[in-house]
Symmetry: C2
Subunit: 282 residues, 2 copies
């Protein structure tokens, strides 16, 4: 199974990055957007990724031109799906939005087209039936700035054809990614399964007044050689996301910590992007 | 409060490193050992640390000589304690051994001598009364290869004089350490409070067959920029320690994982030092 004609549903941050890197590696890519305005925004994002890969990957003019040549845009879903080997759904994390697309996909897509979702918060089993082809459906998850943080997490659900993960593994390698094979459904995939509890534990140490963000980060970076400790990572992730993933916790210590994060957000300390979170930035 | 005359009780791996780095920074250090044989072993260790700091810190002959000039050894506990500003207990992690020392310390030490313990597994409150001076006692924890992994975790118990942590902070800086101030007793200090659950979560992902050690490590190193993922860290820590800290867990998933670690140990895969753990080493 080889994927050469690839359609991306949704040209947001991740959708546009996946489309761009696929085109960069000679795949014929069509990005579907809801409106001309959303296509314009996608094109502006692609401009930014072009600049980024010039810096981060030393990409040449020729490579950039080649990527552009392999990219098409459309607002017509039927056109977008026609002849696609692989469709990558990268819509917002909203069940209704995704279900609405899967309904149309079921009607419009070729019967042999493979469908994957880039969802970060849902499990693929939740949508498998809605796609109309659970055997040809799995989750395929990328991290922001995929040319640099180049893991591609490949996670089937129970009805996925057993040959499909290997086909996605090959595709990942073809577009410059390091495939991560996840053998069973795992909420949060691998990265968030490790990162979220790690950040939560650090947050509780701080919230309980056991040690300062700086001292906790120093301990981690010196002890493990990591470039950033948990509080610097949280400043990059942003306080709003940290609040989102903590405030409904059943752990009372984490609930208290979430309220302290809320106080920071209310004071405008929402992380690196606002110039202040646990640390100050210039 | 300034500490210039420092006595180390026990010249094992950490005791000899703390003594050596204190002497390296012009502190007058006495290392107490139980017997002439243990003093000999301590001196052999100090030779190794001298070689290591020549490599890791570019230490000069003059600096090494200066450190040696500041080091004394004795098997006489009364002599060791006489005139000490600061006594650092670095005995094996055995309650009876530590209690036996604290009993003698109570009799022999000057009344104004400060006492700290380098225990990694106990809380200082457990020994505070036994020392006879709970207000002058706290935990002071170093990581192996202290010249490189140079955090010094400073953790008081409820009866510690509130001025004492700051004095240890200053001492830490004087001997080239990054002090980590822990405001309340915390089992495992900071590093193990973060590292142990992190390693446990990774172990469970592997044990449940969700992903391979290599794929999990790739996800972590690419996603966070860390030099090592959890399985490479566990290979360095050693499987025996991993088994020790997991097999009594109340989490059934972790118990299953611990049994798989036991199988590895039984097969001789005890980590980096045996040439194989989760990875093979040459």
């Amino acid at each position: 199974m080889e994927f050469n004609n690839v359609t991306i549903i949704g040209g947001g941050t991740l959708g546009s990055q996946i489309g761009f890197m696929s085109a960069f590696h000679n795949k014929n890519v069509t990005i579907w957007g809801r409106s001309d305005q959303s296509i314009d925004r996608t094109k502006a994002r692609i401009d930014r990724w072009e600049t980024a890969v010039r810096i981060d990957l030393n990409a040449t003019d020729e490579q950039i031109k080649n990527a552009e040549k392999h990219l098409q845009y459309t607002t017509d879903l039927k056109d977008a799906l026609a002849g696609a080997d692989l469709v990558i759904e990268a819509l917002p994390e909203n069940v209704a939005t995704k279900d609405e697309f899967y309904d149309q996909f079921k009607e419009l897509a070729d019967s042999n087209t493979i469908l994957v979702t880039n969802t970060s918060t849902f499990l693929p089993s939740q949508f498998a039936e809605a796609t109309g082809r659970p055997d040809k459906f799995l989750a395929y998850h990328f991290a922001n700035e995929i040319w640099k943080f180049n893991t591609a997490e490949i996670m089937p659900q129970s009805k996925t054809d057993s040959a499909l993960p290997a086909a996605l593994k090959q595709y990942s390698q073809e577009i410059g990614m390091i495939p991560v094979m996840i053998n069973q459904e795992q909420p949060g995939y691998i990265l968030n399964s490790l990162l979220v509890p790690f950040l939560n534990n650090a947050l509780i140490l701080w919230s309980k007044g056991i040690a300062s963000p700086e001292d906790i980060d120093n301990t981690w970076t010196i002890g493990t050689g990591a470039p950033s400790g948990p509080f610097r990572i949280m400043d990059t992730v942003g306080m709003k996301t940290i609040y989102e993933i903590t405030h409904n916790s059943s752990d009372p210590d984490l609930q208290v910590a979430a309220e302290k994060v809320k106080t920071m957000i209310d004071a405008g300390k929402i992380g690196r992007e606002s110039g202040e979170g646990f640390y100050k930035y210039n």
